[in-house]
Structure formats: C-alpha cells, structure tokens
C-alpha cells in the first residue's frame, strides 16, 4: 500500500489553525470560494453522490443518497443538522476535528448546506466538549465577520446561519431523530419512521443530519475531486452492484490497553491489527490482545483471532459485529475480564436507554440486573442463554425498537457471550459452584450514575 497522505488531520499541528487567518494560510476556504463561483448546488450534490461518501457517524449510509431524499418541490425552509453529539464509548474523532481544526468543520458545513439548500444549520454539540464549543463559536464569529456566513456569502446569493446547540449529555441525542426532538426542545425520544427527517424533520421541515467527519470529507471531495476520493479505501465489489464500497479517508480512534491511544487518520479498510500496531503502538506492557471493539462499544467484540478483520463498512459484519460504527477501536489485553466488560457495557446502555420502547427499556435493565448478579457470584449457566435471548430480540434489526440504541446494547452481549462463553461459564461455575438460584430477591440495580 502506498504511503497514505493525511488530509483531515493534515493541518492539526499548523500554527493558529483554529483561527481564520491560520486556516486560510493553509488554503482554507479556497474550496468554498471556488465552489460558490463555479458550481451549482446540484453539481455539488452530484459530486458527493459520485464519490460514494458514506456517513461516518456509525450507520454508513450513503451521504449523497440521503441528500437526494429531500423533496425538490418543498417551499422550505430546509435545515442541516450537524451531529456533534459524539458519545459512543471509544470514539473521539469529532472532538479532535472540532478542537483542532474548527474551520475545516465549518467549511464542510457551509458547502453541504449549499448543496442541500439549507438556510440554517444547527451544530448539535455534546455538552461535555467545552473547548469544542469555544473554538467553534469563535470560528463562527470570525466567519460572520469575514462574510463567510450570514447573508449573501462571499457575494453569492447563498445565505446561511449556523447555530451551536449544546446538548444535555444523553447518548440517545446522537440518534438523528432524537437529536431533532432535542433540538426542538423536547425529550429526546427518537421518532418513529416514516416520515424520515429528509421529508419531515426539524420543526417538521425537510432536514439532513450529518456527522462532523462526514461534512469534513465533503470539502476534500470538492477540493481534490471524486477520483481522488475513490482512489482511497476499499472499492465496491465488482460482482455486487448494491455494494457502495468503503471509500475515502477515515479517522480511527484507538483506546484501551495500547501504548499510544489517540486519533489517527488512514484509508478505510485497514485491518484492525494494523490500527492497533501501527497507530496504537501495540498492546501495552508487552501483553497480547484478548479482544478489541472494532468501532465503538455498540459494535460488539472482535476476538484475538479475528483482529485481521479489515475496518471497512463490511468487515466487522462478517466477523459477527454490528458494523464499522465509528471506527473507535478499544483494545483489551489478555488479563482483562469479559465479565467486567459486559457488565460495564450493560450498565452504560441501561443508563442511556431513552426508555421509550418497551424491549429496550426493560431489556437493557434486565440484562444489567443479570450481569450484576453474575458478577456478584450468583449467576446461573442458564442466565447466559437468557441474556442471548434478550440480546437477539431487541433492536431495529429484529424490528422491536424505534432506534438503533438497542442494537448497540445487544451486540456487546451477543459477541461477548458467543465468543467468550467458556470464560463466562468458568466464572459462574467458580463463583456459584452449587449452581442453585439466589433465593433472596436481587436488589434493584442502581442504574443511574455509576
């Protein structure tokens, strides 16, 4: 593989890059100036569609296709929501972009708003990112001053306002309709679809919700061209016309038991092992990896022997995981207990379940109470089958919930128990050798803040 030249993180170490001056010194807003002069919105949208860019927020939906769902004859207004509510455990790439290079995010946002015909963009920012907020807000103010935002941007007839909305720290606000509800000032209960946000979204108007990293990619597609973008990553399978491939650059977040945790850029489709070794500097303390989460906690687990799985949109699925997710790799070394992993995972999702759909609200709670009991040494072997039954029955994929949070809760359970069942069984046999049920009722689990 030829040496990959980073683009998304290229300017991170440049002087004063968080200011407009510093960004423009690196060629910033060059693309925006050119596009506003030379290209029509539909040409921009067509380029993004041709590039095969897929959403970086987790589901990997084709961005150009999502934009094309906007009704052409709607009188407007249309909205663009920037999903910066990055809360998937193990993921921090949006934070790196927004803190390190806020103008890059804004340029992508302005270009995408131009392409989708949005007159207002909302950046839904996770509350726990105060530095992102300060830098983004400062960058927005600079843009207004420089005529890059507001009425008639750079003398064109395109106008755009950008507002930052700071969320109140709920995982479910990262789900696009949950985000929209929250932005409207309501409880973040995801909406039932249809109607999809492109038809009826924020304030019941056509709305596009895109991830920060997706929008950052848009600038580079328009700058360097579709062919450049399509030369990176995994091309579509020639014999499968429905496979869009996994194209373009991707930010990998490496955390857990590695020597150099951090956010790194590479082409899509790097093997998980390479991400751990080359970016993360290998497993710490000279230990071996026992397992790794390929793309944020909700995607599940790769066992040690599956670490050669390529991190493209398809690879983790073949290895029994939910998908690529956010490419947030969490590494566990050989000393780590999978019981602890699963307990912690269940605690997270029980805490974050919005509580709207019965199977998710009760299923995550039930799974947590079982994991607490198992961990406390009162587990039974049949609990494992019950946990799997719960996990298999919740989520969008079986159709029992409105949003994907329950799928995210299910996959760690499924993969941990299916791939490490012997460890769970050993633990239960060791801690509860008689195997009989706990006769005293189990106290209600705490659920709230850990």
């Amino acid at each position: 593989m030829p040496e990959y030249e980073p683009v998304l993180l290229a300017n991170l170490s440049k002087p004063d890059i968080e200011t407009l001056k510093g960004y423009e010194a690196q060629g910033g807003y060059r693309t925006l100036r050119r596009v506003l002069k030379e290209l029509s919105p539909s040409e921009v949208a067509a380029m993004v569609r041709a590039s095969g860019l897929r959403g970086r927020g987790g589901a990997g939906f084709l961005t150009g296709l999502k934009w094309s769902f906007l009704p052409a004859d709607h009188p407007g207004p249309r909205y663009l929501c920037v999903n910066a509510d990055e809360s998937e455990p193990g993921t921090f790439s949006n934070r790196v972009l927004m803190e390190g290079d806020p103008h890059q995010v804004l340029e992508g946002t302005i270009l995408s708003a131009y392409a989708t015909g949005a007159s207002t963009a909302y950046i839904y920012l996770r509350f726990e990112y105060p530095l992102c907020f300060r830098r983004l807000q400062a960058a927005i103010d600079e843009c207004y001053g420089a005529g890059l935002l507001g009425k008639n941007i750079l003398g064109s007839d395109f106008s755009l306002d950008i507002y930052i909305h700071r969320g109140a720290a709920a995982y479910v606000c990262g789900e696009e309709t949950g985000l929209i509800e929250s932005l409207e000032g309501k409880r973040a209960w995801p909406r039932i679809k249809p109607p999809f946000p492109a038809v009826e979204g924020l304030f019941r108007k056509p709305t596009v919700v895109n991830n920060v990293e997706t929008l950052a990619c848009v600038t580079h597609i328009l700058d360097r061209g579709v062919d450049w973008f399509r030369s990176i990553g995994v091309p579509p399978k020639p014999n499968d016309p429905r496979d869009p491939g996994s194209l373009g650059p991707k930010l990998y977040c490496v955390s857990g038991h590695v020597n150099r945790p951090g956010c790194y850029e590479g082409p899509l489709g790097l093997p998980c092992r390479e991400v751990i070794e080359r970016f993360g500097g290998g497993v710490w303390k000279n230990r071996k990896a026992k397992a790794a989460v390929p793309g944020g906690l909700s995607t599940g687990l790769l066992a040690a022997e599956e670490l050669d799985t390529p991190l493209d949109f398809d690879g983790p699925v073949r290895a029994g995981c939910l998908g690529l997710g956010t490419a947030g790799v969490i590494v566990f070394d050989e000393t780590y207990s999978m019981i602890d992993f699963l307990h912690n995972s269940c605690r997270f999702f029980a805490h974050e379940s919005c509580g709207q759909c019965t199977p998710c609200r009760e299923g995550t709670y039930w799974a947590l109470s079982m994991m607490e009991r198992i961990k406390a040494g009162r587990g039974r072997l049949k609990d494992l089958d019950l946990l799997l039954e719960i996990a298999d029955s919740i989520g969008i994929i079986p159709g029992t919930t409105i949003c994907g949070l329950a799928d995210g809760a299910a996959w760690p359970i499924k993969t941990a128990i299916r791939k490490f069942r012997h460890e769970f069984e050993d633990y239960i046999r060791r801690t509860n050798p008689q195997g009989y049920a706990a006769t005293e009722p189990v106290a209600a689990c705490t659920g709230s803040s850990a």
Binding site: R187, I192, A350, S353, G355, T358, Y365, W366, A437, V442
Partner: protein
C-alpha cells in the same frame, strides 16, 4: 378496489380510506394487541405490542415479499397489496417478550388494583404472555402520588405508553403530565405547582391501559366486574356526549366516555364525568305531595294521576312548561296531553341554564355554556305545537296576560334554578303542579309536588345543539316513590301498558317533520336530524 391481505384473508378497502394495521385487522375481527396506540392521539409506536409481519403483494404476479423484520401495525398504512401476518410464531414470540418485559418491574398488585378486570396488561398476559417468570427482579412496591385533585398515580404500575402525556398535550392542550428520568427509571409526573387539574383530566384514567392512573372518585369503591355498563347520554351541557353509565344494583359508580365520532369522539369532560352524585342525593324529592292549606300531605301514586287529570280539566285554561332536561318523547307526551285538555294550552320551553361561555380545547372538544341536554328537541316540539317558541323568561313577562288558571312545570334541574322573585310572578294560578328533582322556592309554592327522575333513570332521546339525536334506555331504576316523567305522562294520556319510549318517538317522528329521520331504528351513535336537509 384496493385489497389487503391479512392473515390470509382478503380485506377490501375504500378508495381513499386511510387505515393502519390495527384498524384494518379489526375490520376482519382480528384484534392486534396494543398499548400506546389510540385512534385519537398521535402515533408513537413505542410499546411494541402491535408488532406484525408486513409484506407487499405484487399486483401483477401475485408474488408476496415479506419484510425480514417485525413492524408495528399502528404505524403501517394498509394499502392495496399490503400483506399483514398477525399470528405467526415470530409475532407471538415478540408479544410474549414484550409482556414479559412489561411485567419485570410491575408490582402485580392486581388484588388491590382498581383496574383489575379491565386491565390490558392482565388480559394480554393471559392471552399472549409467558407461563413462567424468568426474571428474578423484585418488583417495586406501589408508590402512589397524587397528580391532581381528581387523579392519582400508582407510579410503579405504569408501562410508559405515554397516552396520558400525549392526551394532555394534544387534546386538552394543557401539558401538565410529563415523563421524568430516563430508561427503566422513567416515571410520569407533574411539575411542582402545576397539578393535573384541567377539565378533561378524567380521560387519562380511561386512556391508561393499566392501573397507573386512577380516579380518586372511584378508587376502592367497586370492583369493575360487579359493574354493568349501559349506554347513556350526558345531560351536563348541550353537546350531549355519549357515555357509559356503570352501575351496580341501581347505584351509579362511574361514568365513562363512549366512542361517538359524531359527537364527543373518545372524551368527556369532568363536569359530565362527575355529574352522578346528585342522582343519589338524600335531598331529592322522593314522594308526591299535595298542599292542603298550610300543610303538606304525602301521597301515593295510586289514583294520583286521575286526581291531577281532573284538577287540570277543572282549571280549563292551562299551560305546560317543557323542561330542557326532558327527553323529546316526554316533552311530546306532555305537550300532547296539554293540548288534549285545552286546545289553546300554552306550551313553554323551560328555563335554559347558561353558565359563562363555551369552553373549547385544542383537540376540538367543546364544553357548551348551555347546561342542559335537550333545548333543541323541546323547542322543536313547542314551536310545532304552539306555533312559536315561547321561552321561560318571555313567558314570565306575559304570564299575567295569558289568563292561565293551571300550570304544569316540569323540572329535572340538578342545581338551584329559580328564586323567590321569579316565583312571585306566577302568583294567581289556581293550580300549580311542579315536577322536579330538588326542593326549590317553586316547589314551596306549588299545589302538587311530584318527584322527577334523574338522567340515568329516563328512557328516551335527546337532541343536542347540532341537531344530533341520541336514544338511550334507563340504566338504573329510580328510587322508590319516583316515577319517571314518561310513565306519568303516558298514564295522563290514558294509555294502557308500560311507557313505550321508542313507540312515542315513532309517533313524534311521524307527526313533526323535524324528527322525521328518527322514524327508523336509531343507530348506537344517534342520528343527525338535519342530514336530509343538507342532502
């Protein structure tokens, strides 16, 4: 004709019909269980009880392709070619799982729960649930919290269907109820100092599919399986909402809304819901009485009607006051009788109580200012018999010039309605017969006081202010000593046998054009008398 396929059976749909899966299946008699969906509220699709398998049938080849995942029927529009499977093993497993989930933390305190017997959670558990409990989670106890002056909330019984929250936002428009906390710790609550005290609040109790929201007026009074439900019409205002009157051994314990899309949809107001205590009030007039000089003599009904008849005929020149609380049949019989005694008899429309102005709610519900059920019906009869509508207030103005010697005033008023000064204007009558629920200055002055029947005791029809006629039968028997007006008038007219309200309505419909549409059978939801005029 668009055709859908549900459990292998074909359902023909109207051209522009918009049904969801639950409504379409119901047409074929297939019940899809559901908690959160309600026809009057927005669709959230969160309880996941109505999950079904959905597919499409190709119109050309007839090939059916099914979706791999389950879909909530409440959010599935049924169109031409839609295929629903509601009874497959997959669907049944999903239902069983939802039932098991809902019972994880439910206190299962059915023996002390008001809802037991009409509880969806109970019913669905027996139909769709698992036989054994697999979870060892100790359910919480039944925490109780008052959310308003009429409504109390048993927090842990709640299954978070959010019907009550949506009702307060969409129908009453007052938004008192909300969800607090998150995930399994979610609860319904109100904000401090903003209790659930709107005039439609009682509906959340009917909406609640479990025993979480309970009505304090009904709490621990009756087990629902002792109650018998009778269709009724609310007599609280001129809208005439359809109701269920729930009684046990001639005691009304509860009034609930009855679905009627032409009148009240699915709701009633608290004024109508709590309108029954007067029925069992100990202040009611229960015995017919006659004034003999200064003293009162209690009478029995034996021979009383013949006595009244002869006194009225003696008086010769008489008038009758048709109360807007009478049914149209009763008003028609009384007016006919008056005409029989005195062809020039004056027929007056009784006092129409009006309080403030109409109250309108964002969901379209209206509480009328006119606090009686049948002004339109009584007016139609009076204007036909009399040639004009002589209202009570106008009648008081001209009573001295009419030369009346006898007057029959029908009442049925639930609240005080007449003062001494008004009564004074009726001075000079030789014979005053008053028929009412409660003693008043008018009954003090009367020569005969007859007990009236309360609304659940009456047979007959009411016409609301939009010309919608509804017929009901009696729900409870009147207390001993009380004879419903209908049977009194029936006997006054010298008719034999029991009072026959449907027969009287047919007579009325044949005689007065306004009621013509009441000639056929009256459907459950009633009939709009103006329909033919619009056509």
């Amino acid at each position: 004709m668009p055709t859908a396929l549900i459990d292998g059976r074909e359902l023909e749909l109207g051209e522009h019909e918009r049904l969801n899966g639950i409504e379409a299946a119901r047409r074929l008699g297939i019940e899809i269980p559901h908690y959160c969906w309600h026809p009057g509220l927005s669709v959230v699709g969160s309880c996941r009880m109505c999950l079904v398998e959905v597919g499409m049938r190709d119109p050309k080849t007839g090939q059916i392709s099914m979706l791999p995942r389950l879909v909530p029927a409440c959010n599935t529009p049924v169109r031409d070619g839609t295929v629903l499977v509601t009874n497959s093993e997959k669907v049944q497993r999903a239902r069983a799982m939802v039932e098991e989930d809902l019972l994880l933390r439910h206190p299962i305190d059915c023996p002390i729960c008001d809802k037991a017997g009409e509880c969806r959670l109970q019913d669905y558990h027996f139909t769709y649930g698992q036989e054994q409990r697999r979870a060892d989670i100790r359910p919480f106890t039944s925490r109780r919290r008052d959310v308003g002056s009429e409504i109390t909330l048993f927090v842990d019984r709640c299954i978070m269907c959010s019907r009550c929250v949506r009702f307060c936002r969409e129908i009453s428009g007052t938004s008192e109820l909300l969800v607090v906390q998150r995930g399994a710790h979610e609860e319904i609550d109100v904000l401090p100092d903003f209790p659930l005290n709107n005039k439609l609040s009682g509906n959340v109790v009917d909406l609640c599919p479990v025993g979480a929201l309970c009505d304090k007026n009904f709490l621990y009074r009756q087990r629902v399986w002792y109650l018998k439900s009778h269709p009724g019409v609310c007599t609280g205002c001129a809208i005439g909402c359809s109701t269920w009157i729930d009684e046990n051994q001639d005691h009304v314990w509860r009034i609930r809304p009855r679905e009627n899309l032409a009148v009240n949809r699915w709701w009633i107001c608290n004024d109508g819901r709590y309108d029954y205590p007067h029925v069992h009030s100990d202040q009611r007039i229960l015995v017919p009485r006659r004034r003999d000089g200064e003293a009162w003599t209690d009478l029995s009904w034996n021979g009383l009607i013949r006595e009244l008849d002869s006194r009225l005929r003696q008086a010769g020149r008489i008038g009758v006051v048709l109360s807007p609380f009478l049914t149209v049949e009763e008003a028609f019989l009384l007016a006919s009788y008056a005409r029989q005694v005195d062809p020039q008899a004056v027929i007056v429309v009784g006092h129409v109580p009006v309080v403030d102005e109409d109250e309108r709610f964002p969901g379209g519900f209206i509480i009328a200012a006119e606090k009686c059920p049948n002004r339109r019906g009584v007016e139609a009869i009076a204007s036909r018999m009399m040639g004009r509508v002589l209202a009570w207030e106008a009648f008081l103005g001209e009573v001295s010039s009419l030369g009346l010697r006898g007057l029959w005033v029908s009442g049925g008023y639930k609240r005080p309605w007449i003062d001494e000064a008004t009564v004074d204007r009726l001075r000079g009558l030789e014979l005053l017969i008053v028929q009412d629920l409660f003693p008043s200055p008018l009954t003090e002055r009367a020569d005969y006081v007859l007990p009236a029947a309360a609304f659940p005791e009456r047979d007959g029809s009411y016409v609301n202010r939009n010309d919608h006629l509804q017929s009901v039968r009696w729900a409870i028997r009147p207390p001993r000593g009380v004879r419903p007006e209908g049977s009194v008038f029936w006997e006054l007219l010298g008719r034999s046998g029991l009072y026959d309200a449907p027969g009287a309505l047919r007579e009325l419909a044949a005689e007065i054009g306004y009621f013509h549409l009441a000639l056929g059978t009256i459907p459950e939801g009633g009939v709009n008398l103006k329909t033919n005029l619009l056509a």
